[in-house]
């Protein structure tokens, strides 16, 4: 059956206990076991029958093995997305498109990652033709390409040396309110400035936290969602645009692609950026948050670094941002856990970090594939 694109919902979410999985282990954990655990939790969360799942989208795990493990023998649509963070938003977009055009009715989006126990370094391991000429200069790792952008940003707009500190502090403060978060010890501006450089000007506390873990979410029509266990979270709009060049470094900090995506989202939903109750921003490295705030009109261009303020962006402040602790403190789940947090905030399930009266959440990812969604609950519709 076909559905209007705005009549589609996330109905179930599941994720690993990231904190428990940060513990050292002798052997790499099985990403498929983790993925299956997250999907089991998502199924329990919505109460749908496993056999109703007729679409399976995977990232960092592959459908052949995963469907075997799960006993999903006959999905009508399967697709492996690459294991990069930009794909979490793409997975939801693809699920929405599949349901809208009737190719599938219940789509499971599943991510499983054993990066920590498998000793993934995200640098130094080669990267194909685009970076073949970079390694002879010692250039490697996504963080270094982001650091290139941020160094220029600082030169253009005069961002201070501690400009990113509020973002690291904010993530950590929220993580302290999230039982599943890995790093829960709050940090100060001094701690930030004392943390060592990785790719200067970026410091350890600007960096995502590589970990093991899995995330799953289940997507279906609003019509079907109404019959399930939890209040539906509507995908009010989603949009994307690539910005692909030879390097992860985007010479406009992904601004033009973000602007294009933002204008479509705000037009389709009639929701203005300042009306969004909670911001979930892909934060592989803290400067990405600044670029995103500007690209999506949450902060004026060139002023994102001074717009962020520790009191403004906390869960009970006026512009709550990355309420689960983000990639630097909760766990680096490549945007997937941000989706789960979006759903929990809209259901009022976020416990000590709950944004009061949360009716709209925006997920944003500024990367070589820019994606963003606006998610709403029934109160938003009634407004």
């Amino acid at each position: 059956m076909q559905h209007e694109p705005a009549e589609i919902a996330i109905v179930g979410v599941g994720q690993s206990d990231f904190r428990a999985l940060y513990a050292p282990t002798d052997r790499p954990r099985d990403a498929y076991a983790l993925a299956a655990g997250a999907l089991r939790e998502a199924i329990d969360d919505c109460g749908i029958d496993k056999d109703e799942i007729d679409g399976l989208l995977c990232s960092r795990v592959e459908y052949g093995r995963l469907a075997t493990v799960l006993g999903l023998r006959n999905p009508r649509f399967v697709h492996d997305l690459e294991g990069s963070g930009r794909m979490s938003g793409v997975a939801l977009q693809e699920a929405v498109a599949l349901i809208a055009n009737g190719a599938a009715d219940v789509v499971a989006c599943v991510y499983g990652n054993n990066g920590r126990s498998a000793r993934m370094r995200y640098g130094g391991e080669g990267g194909g033709p685009t970076v073949a000429y970079d390694e002879m200069y010692g250039m490697t790792s996504p963080g270094a390409y982001v650091a290139m952008m941020y160094q220029r940003y600082r030169g253009m707009y005069g961002a201070s040396e501690d400009a990113l500190a509020p973002l690291a502090i904010n993530n950590r403060r929220h993580a302290a309110l999230n039982p599943a978060a890995v790093l829960q010890k709050e940090i100060t501006r001094e701690d930030y400035l004392e943390s060592r450089f990785i790719a200067e000007p970026l410091r350890l506390l600007d960096y995502c936290l590589i970990n093991d873990g899995a995330v799953a979410f289940i997507v279906t029509s609003m019509e079907r969602a109404r019959t399930l266990r939890k209040p539906p979270v509507r995908v009010a709009a989603t949009a994307g645009m690539a910005h692909i060049t030879n390097y992860y470094t985007a010479e406009d900090f992904f601004y033009s692609a973000c602007q294009d995506v933002a204008s479509r989202l705000y037009r389709q939903t009639g929701i203005a950026p300042e009306e969004v109750d909670c911001l979930q921003i892909y934060d592989n490295f803290t400067p990405t948050i600044v670029f995103t705030l500007e690209g999506f009109n949450h902060a004026p261009r060139g002023e994102g670094w001074s717009w962020v303020d520790e009191e403004k962006i906390r869960h009970d402040g006026p512009r709550p941002l990355n309420t689960a602790g983000g990639h630097t403190s909760e766990s680096y789940m490549q945007g997937w856990a941000h989706h789960v947090e979006s759903v929990r905030q809209l259901r009022g399930e976020a416990g000590a970090r709950q944004v009061p009266g949360c009716r709209t959440v925006q997920y944003m990812c500024a990367s070589p594939i820019v994606t963003s969604h606006i998610l709403t609950n029934d109160e938003a519709v009634a407004r």
Binding site: D134, G138, A144, M148, F197, A199, N246
Partner: protein
């Protein structure tokens, strides 16, 4: 630097990229230039990213550009660079259009974005000449 581990980081010379490396050995920066529309590109590829023409020539370019940005890498990712940490990596925008990752032969204290730079050609400890850049200083007024 450890020569053996450094060698492993150099791109393999192939029939497709050999003109680039031959150019550096002759102290010239050569890039592919589209015969149909004149677009320069880097790294080498089979077709023009602007017009998709497969016809191209390798042309010497000015070697001039500007320092779009830079970082200092403190983290150890490569054995070859372990002992020179932190080291500078530069993102250079060439006047002809393409961007290249490189480094500066000598690093002034007062780096700033958009400083003019020009290519310098350094015989490494491998057989290869490696492309680096140096900050252009205005000629002293006589």
């Amino acid at each position: 630097m450890n020569a053996e581990s450094y060698e492993r980081l150099l791109p393999e010379i192939t029939p497709e990229n050999r003109p680039f490396w031959d150019g550096l050995a002759e102290n010239e920066l050569r890039l592919q230039c589209c015969d149909a529309c004149g677009e320069y590109r880097f790294p080498d590829s089979e077709v023009c990213p602007r017009c998709l023409s497969g016809s191209f020539s390798w042309r010497a370019v000015s070697g001039k550009g500007r320092l779009w940005s830079w970082i200092r890498m403190h983290q150890k990712y490569f054995d070859a660079f372990d002992e020179v940490r932190p080291y500078l990596v530069a993102y250079i925008k060439l006047d002809e259009g393409p961007a290249v990752i490189s480094t500066l032969g000598e690093t002034p204290d007062d780096l700033a974005i958009d400083l003019p730079v020009r290519a310098v050609f350094e015989p490494g400890f491998s057989e290869r000449t490696v492309l680096k850049f140096t900050v252009e200083r205005p000629e002293p007024v006589a």
